[in-house]
Amino acid sequence: MSPSATHTHDEHALVAHHFENLEQQRGANLLGMWLFLSSEVLFFGGIFTAYAMMRFSSTNNGFALGSSQLNAVVGGINTAVLLTSSLTMALAVWAAQTKHRRLLQLFLSLTLAFGLAFLVFKGFEWYHEYEVSLVPGPTFGSKLAEKGDGTVIPAETVKTMQMFFVFYFSITGLHALHMVVGLAVLAVQLVLCLQSDFGVRDYGPIEVFGLYWHFVDVVWIYVFPLLYLMRA
C-alpha cells in the first residue's frame, strides 16, 4: 500500500496496512478492549447474579457465617495492593504518552510486583481456608467446631455455608485467572519495554492493556465487599 498523505514517515511503520492512520488504529484497539470488557462484565455478572439469588433466597444465615470465616484484614490489604497497582498502571500509561522510557519501565515493574503480591496473599488465604476445612466437598466444615465458641452449627446452615464457599472459590478463582492472564501480558510488555522503545514509540498497547488491568481491579472492588464484608 502506498502511504496515504496523512501518514508522517515514522507513523507509517506503526500502522497496520488496513488502517488509514495511527489515530484510527488506536481508536479501534481501544474500542475493541472496551467491548471485550463489556463482555467480561456480563461474564462476572452471571455469577454475581447467581450469588445474589442464592444468598437472598436462602433461609438461614449460612452466607453471613461463611463471610465471617474469611480474613477481612488480609482481604483489605490485598484490596489496597491492587488499587495501588492500578495507580502505577495509570502512571505507566502517562509515562508512555509523555515518552518517559525509564519511568515507563519503572511503573510497569511496580505494577507487576503489586500484582504478584496480590496473588501471593491470595494463595496464602486459600491455603489457610483449605487447612480449616472450608473447601467445598465431602469434608467441608469438619474442623469448624474446633474454631468456634462451641455452639454447633445446624447441618442446613453448613450446607448453605458450603454454597457460599463454592461462590467464594469460583469468583476469586476466576478473578485470579484474570490476574494471571494480565500479569503474563504485563511481563511481555515489560520485557519489550526493556529491550526496545516499545511503549514510548506508540503508547497504544500500554493504554489498551491499562484498561484491562483497571477492569480486573474494578471487579475486585465488587468482590471484596460481596464476599468479605457482608457478614450480617
Binding site: 488496513h18 481508536g27 479501534a28 474500542l31 463482555s39 447467581a50 467445598p136 466437598g137 458450603q162 469460583s170
Partner: protein
C-alpha cells in the same frame, strides 16, 4: 504492504491466461489459506467448516425422523434416540446456525459493504476460526466417544449429576464455540464503528450491516453468561459441588434462568443477520429503494435489546413466579412489533417495484412467509395460558424450526446465492438453483407443518415412541424431511461445480447498489482499487429516489 492488486505480467504465448490478481489467486497452497488474515478467505474457511457440520447435524436429524416414521421405537433404543436429537441440536445450533451468516457472509461482506480493506482485527478473526475448530474437535470427540443425551439445553440436575454420557466435552464444545462467536461480534462492532469509508454515515449503511451490528451486540453481551454458566455446570459435574443441585441446597431453575438469558437472545443471533440478508435481497430484486430504512435499522437494535428481557418465557411451567411469567409474557409479545415492522416494510418495498424472480428472491419470498408463520406461532407460546397446553410438545419444535430453518437457513441460502458471484466470480446454474429452492420450500413445509398439528393434538417432544393415532402426520413429516434433504444436497453439488464451470459473473450481475458490487468479482485482496467515497444513501435505483431520500 505487499499484496497490492497488481496486474500480473502478460504471458507472451498464452494471452488467455492473463488474470487479474484477486483474493483467491493471489497465493496458493494450504498454508496460504490456514494462515490467511484476509477476511474473505477466513469467510471461506468458515463456510467449508459449517457446511460440514450442517451435513453432520442433518444426518442426526434424518435418524430422528426415520425413527419417528413408526409409532414403535423399533429403530433406536430410547437412549440412542436421546443422543440423536441432542447431537442434532448441539451441532446445528452451536456449529451451524450461530456462526452461519455472521461468520461466512458477514465476514466476507461487512468490510466490503463499508468500503474497508479488512476487519479491524484480522488476526483475531483468524483466531476465532481456530477457536471454532477447537470447539469442533470437542464436538467430534463427543460424538465418537458415545454422544451426549441431555438435550442441547444441558438442563440441571440431569447434566451435572445423572447423565452418564459425554456431557463435559459437549458443554466445553459449546463454551469454546461461544468464545469464537464473541470474537466475531467484537471484530464486527469495532469495524463498523471505526472503519467506514469517507461519507458512509450510519444512515447510509446497508441494512445488512445494521443487522450484523445488532447481532454483535448479542454475541458480546449474551455469550459470556452462557460461558460462566457452563463453567459452573462443569465444576458441579467434576467436583460434585455446586449451586444447581437441590441435594446440595442449589437451585436447578437458576440454571434455566442463566441458560436462557443467553439462549433466547441466541435465537436473534440466528435470525437478525437473516433479516439483514432479506432486506438486501428485497431491494435488489424489486429494484426499488427500501421502504422505511430507519424503521428496519432500528427494529434490529430493538430486537437485540428486547431479546435480553424475555428469557423467562422458557420457564412458564417451571417454579418461576407467575407474576414474573406475566411480565415475561408481555415482553415476549413486544418483540413481535419490531419483527412485524420488518415484514411490513419488506412487503411495502415490493409494492410497485419491478420484481424479478431470481433464485435469491425465491428464498426471500420463502423467508417472509415462513418467518411470519414462525413468528405468529411464537405468540401462541408467549401467551401464558396457551403455553401451558403447548409447551414441551411438537408445536414448540415446529415453531422454532420455522424460525431457524424456514427463516435463518432460507435467508442464508438466499444470501449465499446472491453473493456467490461476488465470492467466487461465477454464477450458479439458474435452473437447478430454482429447482432446489422450490424443493426446499415444499420439503420444509411438509416436514414441519404437520408438527404444529401434532403438538396441538398433544404429542410431546423428545420421545422415540408415540401413540398410533399420530402416525399419519409423522409419516408426512418424515417424507418431507427426505425431500428437504434432497433440496439441501442439490446446491452443495452445483455450488462446487459452479466454481470451475459456471458463467463468469462480472462486477455486478444483479445491477445492485452497494459498495461490494462496485469492486471486481472476486474482489482483490485489499477489496477496492482505491478507497471508495460515499455520497448517497443506500438502495438508490432511480434518479427520483436520489432526490426524495434524505
Amino acid at each position: 504492504m505487499t499484496t497490492v492488486a497488481v496486474e500480473p505480467r502478460p504471458q507472451p504465448f498464452e494471452p488467455r491466461s492473463i488474470k487479474r490478481a484477486d483474493y483467491l489467486n493471489i497465493s496458493y497452497g494450504v498454508r496460504s489459506w490456514l494462515l490467511t488474515l484476509d477476511h474473505k478467505r477466513i469467510a471461506i474457511l468458515y463456510l467449508i467448516s459449517i457446511s460440514i457440520f450442517f451435513f453432520v447435524g442433518g444426518v442426526f436429524a434424518a435418524v430422528v425422523r426415520l425413527e419417528l416414521a413408526t409409532p414403535k421405537g423399533d429403530l433406536l433404543q430410547s437412549d440412542t434416540y436421546n443422543k440423536m436429537f441432542t447431537l442434532h441440536g448441539v451441532v446445528m445450533l452451536f456449529f451451524f446456525l450461530i456462526p452461519a451468516i455472521p461468520a461466512t457472509l458477514g465476514n466476507f461482506l461487512v468490510p466490503l459493504m463499508i468500503g474497508a480493506k479488512d476487519l479491524a482485527f484480522p488476526r483475531l478473526n483468524l483466531m476465532s476460526w481456530y477457536v471454532f475448530m477447537i470447539a469442533g474437535m470437542f464436538g467430534i470427540y463427543t460424538m465418537l466417544a458415545g454422544g451426549v443425551d441431555t438435550g442441547w439445553t444441558f438442563y440441571t440436575p440431569l447434566s451435572p449429576k445423572y447423565a452418564n454420557s459425554q456431557v463435559m466435552t459437549a458443554a466445553l464444545a459449546a463454551l469454546i464455540a461461544g468464545f469464537s462467536s464473541i470474537l466475531t461480534g467484537l471484530n464486527f462492532m469495532v469495524t463498523i464503528h471505526k472503519m467506514r469509508a469517507p461519507g458512509l454515515t450510519w444512515f447510509r449503511l446497508p441494512l445488512f450491516v445494521w443487522s450484523q451490528y445488532a447481532t454483535s451486540l448479542i454475541q458480546i453481551l449474551g455469550t459470556p453468561v452462557l460461558a460462566v454458566t457452563i463453567l459452573l455446570v462443569a465444576a458441579e459435574r467434576m467436583l460434585h459441588i455446586g449451586i444447581f443441585d437441590p441435594a446440595l441446597g442449589g437451585d436447578p431453575v437458576l440454571f434455566q434462568h442463566l441458560f436462557w438469558f443467553y439462549s433466547h437472545p441466541a435465537v436473534y443471533i440466528m435470525i437478525l443477520p437473516a433479516m439483514g440478508v432479506i432486506s438486501e435481497l428485497v431491494t435488489t430484486f424489486a429494484k426499488k429503494v427500501i421502504f422505511g430504512y430507519s424503521f428496519i435499522a432500528f427494529s434490529s437494535v430493538a430486537i437485540a435489546v428486547l431479546g435480553f428481557l424475555v428469557w423467562g418465557h422458557h420457564m412458564f411451567v417451571s417454579s418461576q413466579s407467575p407474576y414474573a411469567g406475566l411480565i415475561f409474557s408481555f415482553l415476549s409479545m413486544l418483540v413481535a412489533i419490531p419483527s412485524a415492522i420488518k415484514v411490513f416494510n419488506w412487503t411495502a418495498t415490493l409494492w410497485r417495484g419491478s420484481v424479478s424472480w431470481d433464485t435469491p428472491m425465491l428464498y426471500a419470498f420463502g423467508f417472509i412467509g415462513l418467518f411470519t408463520i414462525g413468528g405468529l406461532t411464537g405468540l401462541f407460546l408467549a401467551c401464558l395460558a396457551t403455553d401451558v397446553h403447548l409447551t414441551h410438545t411438537y408445536f414448540v419444535v415446529a415453531h422454532f424450526h420455522y424460525i431457524m430453518v424456514g427463516g435463518a437457513i432460507m435467508a442464508y441460502l438466499g444470501g449465499l446465492h446472491y453473493w456467490w458471484p461476488k465470492i467466487t466470480g461465477r454464477m450458479y446454474p439458474e435452473f437447478w438453483a430454482k429447482f432446489a429452492a422450490i424443493i426446499i420450500f415444499v420439503g420444509f413445509n411438509l416436514t414441519f407443518f404437520p408438527q404444529f398439528v401434532l403438538g396441538y393434538q398433544g404429542m410431546p417432544r423428545r420421545y422415540h415412541e408415540y401413540p398410533a393415532e399420530f402416525q399419519v402426520l409423522n409419516v408426512m413429516s418424515t417424507a418431507g424431511a427426505s425431500i428437504l434433504a434432497v433440496g439441501y444436497i442439490i446446491p452443495a453439488v452445483y455450488f462446487i461445480w459452479s466454481m470451475k464451470y459456471a458463467k463468469v459473473a462480472g462486477r455486478n450481475p444483479w445491477g445492485a447498489t452497494g459498495l461490494e458490487w462496485s469492486t471486481t468479482s472476486p474482489p482483490p485482496a485489499d477489496n477496492f482499487e482505491k478507497t471508495p467515497i460515499v455520497s448517497l444513501p443506500p438502495y438508490i435505483y432511480s434518479k427520483e429516489e436520489a432526490t426524495v431520500v434524505p
